[in-house]
Each structure stands twice: as C-alpha cells, then as structure tokens.
C-alpha cells in the first residue's frame, strides 16, 4: 500500500468516525479530515492549495466550530430523544450502507475523459494573477460580504440585548 492509498483509506475512516462522534469530537475530527486532505494535496503536487487547506480549514474552521460548540449548550435529553426517534424514523443504518454502495458503484461505471494538458503548466501565482484575476475580485467581495454579515448579526444581537 502506497502513501496515497493509505491517506485515502484514512480519510474515509476518519470521516465516518466524525459523523458518529460527539459534537466536540466531530469538530476536531473535521480538522483531522482537513489535515488528511492537505497531505493528499501535497501528494498531488498542489502545495499552495495544501497550505491554504491546512491553515484555513484545519486551523481556522476547526477553531470556529469548537468555539461555536463551546458557546452553545448541547441538545437536552428530550431533544436528543426526539432526534434519535426522527433518525430511526427517517433513516436506517442500511440506508447509509446503500448510499456508500451506490457511491462506489457509480464511480465504478464512470469513465472519466481526462487527457493530459498539451501545454506546460504555469506557475500557480501567474495563473491566479494572470488568468483568474476576476476570481480574486470575487474572493474579496465574498470576504467583505461575510465580514459585513457577521457585523450585522452581532449588531442586531447587541440591540436585542440592550432592550429591557
């Protein structure tokens, strides 16, 4: 078994553990999934995307999720019971297995037409700045929109807290 196959297998095992674990462990498990995706990106010769994935997804998003879990109260006994009942009513473990089997079968019958690029691949910085400059503008707009949304959410909350 080579490193890539091991990482792919570990990715699936950790993802399965993440969806079954308690909330705090699930948030940490997601960080481990991100770290494994980072390692795969390095294996796929994409170090810059790997660094972004490691710092932003494995780092920042894990911190945000852990903070969110810490700031909120877990579901109560009654809510957990309701969730369990709804889960049993709507889904069965057999459905998870069926979904996983369907995913594997659909990939097995898929024949991707991936021809290697004719031209030599450029540097990622040149591609990002030269060919995909509009994406950078889009990224800036999305970042400002996100920051604005968070400010609006906090401001509304302060107003409500200030009311008697």
């Amino acid at each position: 078994m080579n490193a890539a196959t091991f990482l792919l297998a570990a990715l699936i095992v950790v993802a399965l553990w993440t969806v079954q674990a308690s909330l705090m462990r699930a948030a940490l498990g997601l960080g481990v999934v991100s770290a494994l995706v980072t390692a795969l990106m390095f294996e796929m010769d994409a170090p810059l995307a790997g660094v972004f994935e490691l710092s932003v997804c494995a780092g920042l998003i894990t911190v945000i999720l852990v903070s969110t879990v810490s700031l909120t109260r877990p579901l109560g006994q009654k809510e957990q019971e309701l969730q369990r009942t709804a889960r049993q009513r709507r889904f069965h473990p057999a459905i998870l297995i069926a979904i996983l089997v369907a995913a594997v079968v659909s990939v097995g019958s898929y024949q991707p037409d991936l021809a290697p690029a004719a031209a030599a691949d450029g540097d990622v910085r040149e591609v990002l700045w030269g060919e995909r400059r509009f994406e950078l503008i889009g990224q800036m707009i999305v970042l400002f929109a996100g920051a604005f949304a968070v400010v609006v959410l906090l401001r509304e909350r302060k107003k409500k807290e200030a009311r008697p």
């Binding site: 699936i12 969806v19 994409a46 997804c57 945000i64 994406e135 968070v150 959410l153």
Partner: protein
C-alpha cells in the same frame, strides 16, 4: 505525477464519492445545526479533493490550485456566516436543534 494519479484515479474518485456520501448522510440525518454544518464541510472537502485530483491527473495543477484556493475562501466565509447564524438561532431559541426552525412561521 500525472501518470501516477491517472493510474490511481479510480481509488481517489471512490474516496471522494464516499466522502460526499458520508457528508450527505450527516447533513440529511442531523437535527443539530452544528452537525449539519459539519456535514456541509465534508461535502466541500470532497469537492476540493476532486478539483485538485482533476488537476493532478491532467497535469494542470496550477489552474486546479487556483480554483481550490478560491473554493477554500468561499468555504471559510460560508462557515463563518453559518456559525454566526447558529449562534443567533441559539440566543433566540436557546437550542442548536432544528425543531424551532421547523415550527417557525414564514
């Protein structure tokens, strides 16, 4: 590198499909907003992996990395805003469950 990933395309595609299925399962099953967010994150991990895999298999890693970076930026903004909404919902209803949202009149 391209030849290696063309040869290992099937296992990598299978892993991405399984990751997508696990995320979908988590998202559909959960009545906890934070867990639903974790399900969405697993879906986006699958998409990011496929983007980079396509670049590695075709030898266009620079373009794939540029797209993956854009995707990661959008992903983090979505998570930050969604976490803010979860916290807002928690302060308003006192729970991170989806039940109050089901009962909410539109």
């Amino acid at each position: 590198m391209t030849a290696f990933w063309l040869g290992h395309l099937r296992p990598a595609l299978t892993a991405a499909a399984l990751l997508f299925a696990i995320g979908l399962y988590c998202l559909s099953l959960s009545r906890n907003l934070i867990r639903a967010l974790i399900g969405i994150e697993l879906l986006t991990k699958s998409a990011t992996l496929l983007l980079v895999l396509a670049g590695a298999a075709t030898g266009r890693t620079a373009a794939a990395q540029a797209m993956a970076i854009t995707f990661i930026v959008v992903e983090v903004v979505a998570v930050v805003v969604a976490s803010g909404l979860v916290l807002g919902n928690y302060r308003h209803h006192g729970t991170v469950g989806t039940a109050p949202l089901d009962d909410e009149e539109v």
